[in-house]
């Protein structure tokens, strides 16, 4: 069935280093992908999205890469800060559908 998964459940990164969070998806028909950040006790917060006609999209300190050949999505965070500590979810959506399929999440721990 359709699924979106993450390779690493927990990622520990030194403050100031770059972080890379990976996600695999199985539905080749998905054409919209989103990264959410969930801090403790809060709801998922939109970070960045990318459409399937793009390979890369940059935001402020974040970059999303999409590799449709291997159905892989990644989130890169530059100069990771303590405030980046959270659980990160990737989600996929198929055009015309209204529900997101989420992965299980990756916990990012930023070490001082």
């Amino acid at each position: 069935g359709e699924s979106v998964g993450l390779h690493l459940p927990t990622l520990s990164v030194q403050e100031g280093d770059n972080s890379i969070i990976n996600c695999a998806y199985s539905n080749s028909a998905s054409d919209y992908f989103i990264w959410y950040k969930q801090e403790s006790g809060k709801g998922p917060q939109f970070i960045i999205d990318i459409r399937s006609n793009m390979d890369k999209r940059q935001g402020q300190r974040v970059t999303v890469l999409l590799n449709k050949t291997v159905k892989h999505l990644s989130l890169q965070i530059a100069a990771t800060q303590p405030g980046d500590s959270a659980v990160y979810f990737c989600a996929e959506n198929k055009g015309g559908a209204y529900k997101y399929i989420f992965g299980t999440g990756t916990r990012l721990k930023v070490l001082a």
């Binding site: 979106v4 054409d31 919209y32 989103i34 959410y36 006790g41 809060k42 709801g43 998922p44 917060q45 939109f46 999205d49 459409r51 399937s52 006609n53 979810f89 989600a91 959506n93 055009g95 015309g96 559908a97 209204y98 529900k99 997101y100 399929i101 989420f102 992965g103 299980t104 999440g105």
Partner: protein
């Protein structure tokens, strides 16, 4: 502009009791969604409203769950009777348009954290 708001933020109830969760979407958003995340698992879709109409409730676990959106504004999600496996966080989200590849994304509330004991 106020975001998606949910009430209560936390609730602890006994097995067999009833709990009603409320969601107020972002003003002007016709699309309202309920998702939930049980411990250690992914966030899963429950249902989708467009205004007051249920478009898809395929994710609702069973008939103990009832969602309503009378008047097309706020929504409630009732669990009756609650079971232990219902524990988790229930997220409400809203959007102006359904999410699609044009970049119409959805915005989540902070969740209602439910513990059934």
């Amino acid at each position: 502009e106020a975001g998606v708001t949910q009430f209560p933020s936390h609730s602890v109830i006994e097995k067999g009791q009833t709990v009603t969760l409320r969601c107020d979407p972002i003003s002007g958003h016709d699309n309202l969604y309920w998702y939930r995340r049980v411990m250690g698992k992914e966030i899963k879709f429950l249902l989708h409203f467009v205004k007051e109409s249920k478009q898809d409730e395929s994710g609702m676990p069973n008939n103990r769950f009832l969602a309503e959106r009378t008047g097309g504004t706020y929504s409630t999600l009732k669990v009756q009777p609650a079971e232990l496996e219902d524990s988790g966080v229930y997220f409400c989200a809203s959007s102006q348009q359904p999410p699609d590849s044009s970049g119409n994304t959805i915005y989540f509330g902070e969740g209602s954290w439910l513990t059934v004991v």
